[in-house]
C-alpha cells in the first residue's frame, strides 16, 4: 500500500514538474527597497493570473527574495538557474542588484529581464540581460529639463547615494544635461540606510541651492524632504522613479507635497494599448485602488517573457533569450516595447507630482 502511494506521488510530482514552465522572479521582498519588490510582484502575479499559460503548458513562477542586497542578488540568481532550473528570469529590481545578478545570468546563458533597472551598466556588454524600462541617460535629460526649464531652477543641490549605481549614474546624466542648459549643479553625498541628512541639507542651503534633486530611493527621499522642510528649505524638490511608491508619501507626509519626479508610467497618463486598459481594470477590480508604476512594470515584464517563450516555441533557454532580444512593438502597459540590440527599451518619461498626499500625472516627455 505504502509503495503504491509512493509511486503515485512520484508520478504526480514528475507530471507536475514536466508540464509546467518555470520562470524565476528575483525581487527584493525584504530590505531597503522592499516596496519596489512588493509592487512588482503584485504586477507579475496579476499578469500570471490573467495569462497563466504558454505553449499549452502552465507557467510556474518561482519567487526568490534578494533582500535588496548585492550578495544575495548573486546567490538567488545562482539558485534560480542551478537548482530551480528556470527558463528565464524576471528581475532584478534596483540597478546594483541587476548588475551583480546579471553576471550570473550572462555566464549561464539565461535571459534576465529587469522591470525597472535604469542604469546603463545593467545591459552594457550583456547578451542575456535586458530591460523593459527606459535607461538613465534619458531619464537624466528629462529630470534636468524638468528642473531647469519647467521649474526655473538655476543652482541645484544633487543628493547622491554613493552606494547605488542607479543614483550615481542618474546624478551624472542630470549634471551633463544641466551644463548644456547652462545651470549650476553641486553634489551632496549620503549612503543607503542613512537617517540623518541635516548636515548635507544645511550645507546645500549655505551654498544657496534653489532646488534639490534626489536621484535615490524612497526611504531616503522621504527623510531628506522632511529634514529639508524642517530646516527651512521651501524651494522645489525633484526626484526620479525611485520615488514612485506610496511609501514616499506615507513616510514623507506633508514634506513631500509638491515633490516632482520622473517615472515610467502613471495610471493617470493616457492609455496607449489594450493591455494598459486591461491592467488598470483588472487591478482596480482586485485591489479597489489605482495601480502604481512598479506594478505596471512587473505586469509588462511577465508579458514580455511570456511572449518571448511563445515566439521561441520551446523552453530552450537560449531560444528564449534570443526571442527576448527580438521583442518588437509589443503592446505593453507602460508603452510600446521594442528591445534594441543593447537590450534596452526606448520609452517615454512621465512626470508626476505629489499633491495633497496623492500622485498626480503632470506630463510626458518623449525621447
Amino acid at each position: 500500500m505504502r509503495k503504491l502511494v509512493l509511486i503515485v506521488l512520484v508520478v504526480i510530482l514528475s507530471i507536475s514538474t514536466f508540464s509546467s514552465i518555470k520562470v524565476g522572479a528575483i525581487l527584493p521582498m525584504t530590505g531597503g527597497v522592499a516596496a519596489f519588490g512588493q509592487m512588482i510582484w503584485q504586477g507579475v502575479a496579476l499578469a500570471h493570473e490573467l495569462f497563466p499559460q504558454v505553449l499549452g503548458q502552465d507557467i510556474e513562477i518561482v519567487l526568490l527574495d534578494n533582500n535588496s542586497d548585492k550578495v544575495q542578488a548573486v546567490n538567488t540568481a545562482r539558485r534560480a538557474i542551478e537548482q530551480e532550473k528556470v527558463v528565464a528570469i524576471i528581475g532584478q529590481v534596483i540597478s546594483s542588484n541587476t548588475i551583480a545578478g546579471g553576471a550570473v545570468a550572462e555566464e549561464n546563458g539565461v535571459a534576465m529581464v529587469s522591470p525597472s533597472s535604469t542604469n546603463p551598466l545593467v545591459t552594457q556588454n550583456r547578451k542575456y540581460v535586458s530591460r523593459v524600462c527606459f535607461s538613465d541617460p534619458f531619464q537624466g535629460v528629462a529630470a534636468a529639463l524638468l528642473a531647469f526649464n519647467n521649474m526655473g531652477a538655476s543652482n541645484v543641490a544633487v543628493f547622491v547615494d554613493v552606494e547605488q549605481d542607479y543614483a550615481v549614474g542618474f546624478a551624472n546624466f542630470f549634471r551633463d544635461t544641466a551644463r548644456e542648459l547652462g545651470g549650476n549643479v553641486f553634489y551632496e553625498y549620503y549612503k543607503s540606510g542613512d537617517q540623518d541628512f541635516t548636515a548635507q541639507v544645511s550645507d546645500a542651503m549655505s551654498k544657496n541651492a534653489d532646488a534639490f534633486f534626489i536621484p535615490g530611493y524612497y526611504q531616503e527621499i522621504a527623510l531628506i524632504a522632511i529634514q529639508a522642510r524642517q530646516l527651512g528649505f521651501y524651494d522645489p524638490i525633484i526626484s526620479g522613479d525611485g520615488a514612485a511608491v506610496p511609501e514616499t508619501i506615507e513616510i514623507g507626509g506633508e514634506a513631500v507635497n509638491g515633490l516632482y519626479f520622473t517615472t515610467h508610467y502613471d495610471p493617470g497618463s493616457p492609455a496607449v494599448t489594450e493591455n494598459a486598459k486591461l491592467f488598470v481594470q483588472a487591478y482596480t477590480e482586485k485591489f479597489g485602488e489605482a495601480p502604481g508604476t512598479f506594478t505596471a512594470l512587473g505586469f509588462d515584464t511577465y508579458l514580455v517573457i511570456r511572449d518571448a517563450i511563445e515566439r521561441a516555441g520551446s523552453t530552450d533557454r537560449e531560444a528564449i533569450a534570443q526571442a527576448v532580444r527580438q521583442t518588437k512593438d509589443f503592446p505593453a502597459v507602460t508603452g510600446i516595447i521594442t528591445i534594441n540590440e543593447n537590450g534596452d527599451a526606448i520609452k517615454s518619461v512621465a512626470i508626476v507630482k505629489i499633491e495633497d498626499g496623492k500622485f498626480v500625472y503632470d506630463t510626458t516627455i518623449n525621447p
Partner: protein
Amino acid sequence: MDPKTLLQNFVNGLSLGSLYALIAIGYTMVYGILRLINFAHGDIFMMAVYFAFFLVTLASLPWYFAAILAIAGAAILGFSVDRVAYKPIRKAPRISALITAIGVSFFLESLAVVVFSGIPRSFRTIFPQFLNEMIILGGQVETRYGREVIVGGIRFPIISIITLVITAIALVFLWWFIYRTKIGMAMRAVSVDIPTTSLMGVNVDRVIGITFALGSALAGIGGILWAIRYPQVWPYMGFIPGMKAFVAAVFGGIGSIPGAVLGGLILGITEIMMVGLLPGAAGYRDAFAFFILIIILSVKPSGLMGKPDIVKV
C-alpha cells in the same frame, strides 16, 4: 562653513548625539555590571519601536499609553533574552556570551522580518505631529510660494530637547538607582565578583535579570524617540544606531554612564561636523565613527571617563 551654518550644524549634531547618548547609556550599564557587550541592544531598540507602532495602529491605543507599554515590552524582552540565551552560559568564558549576543541580534532581526515583514513602515502618524516641529531662533518672515514662512534662523526640533531632558533624567535616575538602592548595591556587587555575591545570599540571576530589563527599557525609550525623529520602522533599523551607541560607550569609557552620555554627544557632533566640513566624504560617515573607535582604543583604551583596568601580578 559660515558662522550660521556652523551653529546650525552644532545644533544638528547635538540633536543626533542626544539620541546616541540615550542608547549608549543602556549599553554601557549592562557592560558595567556584567562585562557583557550586549550586541542585541540595537535590536531590542527596534522591537520596542515595532511594539509602539502596532499598539497604536492595530490596538488603537493612545500614543502615550502605547509608548509606556512598548517600553515595558522592551524590558520584558530584555529580561527573557537573558533567561533564554545568557543565563545557561553564565559560567562559560566571556567570549561565548559575546557570540551568543551576536546570535540573539541576528535572531531578533530575522524574527522581525518574518513577523512584521521586511517593508519599511511609516512612523509619522503614530505620535503627535507637534513633536517634530522646530524651534526657530532668528530668521525673518517672508512669503514663499503663496504662504508665509520663516526663512533662515537656527532650528532645533522639539523632540531633540525632549531627548536631552530624558537623557538627563535617565542619568540621575541610574545614579540614584545604582548608588542609593539595595538592588543597585547588589548590581555593584555582581559587577565585582559574582560567586562571592551569590555566597552573601544575593539572588544573582534576579539582579542580572533586572539589569537587562532596565537596560532594555532604556533602549526602548531611545528607539521610540529615534523613530519620532526619523519616522520609519524596519527590521534592521537598530543595527547602525546600536553600533554608534557602542562606539559612544567605548569613547566615553565603557561601563561609565556619564561617559556614555558625553561620548554620544561628542560622536553626534563630530559626525555632523565632519559631513559639514568635508561634504565630499559624507558617504563615509559611519566609517568615520569606527575610525574614531580605533583611535580611542589605541590611544586611551579605557575611554574618556573609564577606569583603567588594574592588572594584578
